[in-house]
């Protein structure tokens, strides 16, 4: 028992020491990069939305939003396929993960990675390994909101 306690103490001390030793990432440059790239992606999205409304003046605004998202998802998937999106991600961090393009990247990249295991067991099964939790939390959240909405 003593030996176990000793090991526990030793591990705590060691982890504390390691934590102090780890080089810290600089917060401000990372934040700036995320803000810049995230902002650019949003501007592109707004630009696409405006263009759609310009070309199809009779379209409802909500439908235009849906089309904008589809175009953004396609662009991100395409950039993932040609191996550019991961380089953007390395620079931008959260800036390219939070917008819908990040979601698209997180589905396309496992699909590409596991294509050698076949269409069903490779692509279909592994496609949601990264994005799965996001989809599940989205569904659960909408369920809770729906229940609350029912009673109010």
């Amino acid at each position: 028992m003593d030996k176990y306690m000793d090991a526990k103490k030793r591990n705590e001390a060691y982890n504390k020491y390691v934590k102090a030793k780890i080089p810290k990432t600089k917060a401000w440059p990372s934040l700036f990069n995320s803000f810049l790239v995230g902002g650019i992606i949003c501007c592109i999205g707004q630009g696409i939305n405006d263009l759609i409304l310009l070309w199809f003046p009779n379209m409802a605004e909500q439908t235009a939003w849906a089309y904008t998202l589809i175009v953004l998802i396609f662009i991100a998937s395409f950039l993932t396929g040609i191996g550019v999106y991961d380089k953007i991600g390395k620079f931008a961090g959260g800036g390219s993960i939070v917008p819908i393009t990040g979601f698209s990247n997180s589905i396309t990249s496992p699909a590409l990675e596991f294509k050698h295991e076949g269409i069903i067991y490779g692509i279909c099964v592994k496609m949601f390994t990264v994005a799965g939790p996001v989809i599940v939390s989205g569904v659960v959240a909408s369920f809770i909101v729906g229940v609350i909405y029912l009673f109010i």
Binding site: N11, N15, K21, G89, K90, S109
Partner: protein
């Protein structure tokens, strides 16, 4: 209290051949000029990265046998391992060879583990020629342990870059080349680190434990070695090891270094350095063995570390245990003599006397033998 962990070989098995093959990124690294073969493309002409890793290991084994100038039929046994589940690269590479196979798993410490086991078997005069091999591939390791390649995420500064490469060597009871004189088998050590992106910190205590056991069992000090080299602790891990050893009262000097830390140049953006089985295997089978053959290094303590983790265990909240095996490599006696005679010209006059003495003692031995 302490049990002996070190084997001191009486017959000193010889490394008669070695071969290293690496990916394009590794070829541009600091050890680039020393490798036998640098691939132009990291798929190596195969359909998947796993297949490329198998082909790499196969190439390394064939290359090492060719380098040893022996026939494949002379080989008794293949000892190999890698990082993938069920060590597929090694066992699938082994199916194309006509000799016995023993699969080993020591994560990134596999090179030293296989060489220590091979040397022990040869020293016992059971087998004559054994091939040791291991390899890793950046893309297969990323897929198994981390995220898909094209996912746009950032790596923390402690993370390391798995080396794409494979190394193999042929160990025999006789021949010319660097000799394996000692081996220290390591214990599994866990200091409760659970950050999968910080392997250096998880493995450094294992390196410390094996190093202490080695110095204790062999009664040597760090100064007895021209080079003490760990496998893939990386920049952070090797700094931690230096601190840990200092706490134990042993100071590691300039002769200590880490393969992972030395592997890539600063511009290659690999954060804490290289890792993986291939990291220590390719450095040993190119740079270190070449320097031992020329006599530039006389005595090297090679001690790669391995993190014995799986994604299942860490996801279930387990910490990361580490292991470290050490082997001592010494340059051939003939090379040693050449070097000492060229460097110490002052003692030239004394030299003939020594050889005379040796010849006298040898003739005495002959007399004794003839009497018997």
């Amino acid at each position: 209290m302490y049990t002996n962990q070190t084997v001191i070989f009486k017959n000193k098995p010889v490394i008669i051949g070695s071969y290293s093959i690496v990916g394009p990124k590794e070829g541009k690294g600091n050890f680039g000029p020393y490798f036998n073969y640098v691939m132009k493309d990291d798929t190596f002409g195969e359909k998947s990265y796993e297949k490329a890793e198998m082909k790499m290991e196969k190439t390394a084994i064939v290359g090492a046998i060719e380098d040893a100038k022996i026939k494949a039929s002379d080989v008794n046994l293949l000892l190999a391992g890698d990082l993938l589940n069920q060590i597929i690269s090694s066992s699938y590479a082994a199916r194309d060879f006509d000799f016995a196979f023993l699969g080993l798993f020591g994560a990134c410490s596999t090179m030293a583990e296989s060489m220590a086991v091979a040397a022990s078997i040869i020293d016992g005069r059971e087998f004559d020629t054994i091939v040791c091999s291991t390899g890793s591939h950046f893309s297969t390791a990323e897929r198994q342990f981390r995220f898909p390649l094209e996912l746009g995420n950032q790596r923390p500064p402690t993370s390391q870059w798995t080396v794409t490469g494979a190394g193999a060597c042929v160990i025999s009871s006789q021949g010319k080349g660097p000799r394996i004189t000692m081996a220290t088998f390591g214990k599994v050590i866990d200091y409760g680190v659970n950050d999968v992106n910080d392997m250096g910190a998880a493995m450094a205590p294992a390196a410390m434990d094996t190093m202490l056991a080695h110095f204790r069992d062999t009664k040597t000090t760090p100064d007895d070695y021209d080079l003490i080299v760990t496998g893939d602790l990386g920049k952070l891990g090797s700094e931690i090891l230096i601190d840990l050893m200092e706490d134990q009262g042993i100071k590691l000097g300039l002769n200590y270094n880490d393969c992972g830390q030395m592997y890539y140049t600063r511009n290659q953006n690999t954060l804490s350095g290289g890792s993986g089985c291939g990291c220590s295997a390719t450095v040993l089978n190119s740079y270190i063995i070449k320097k031992l053959r020329t006599g530039e290094y006389k005595r090297v303590l090679f001690m790669p570390t391995g993190a014995l983790m799986s994604t299942t265990a860490t996801q279930q909240g387990e910490t990361i245990p580490g292991v470290c095996h050490a082997i001592v490599l010494e340059c051939d006696d003939s090379v040693k003599d050449v070097k000492t005679s060229t460097t110490s010209n002052r003692n030239v006059q004394n030299k003939p006397k020594k050889t005379e003495r040796q010849s006298i003692s040898k003739s005495n031995e002959d007399k004794l033998k003839s009497k018997v």
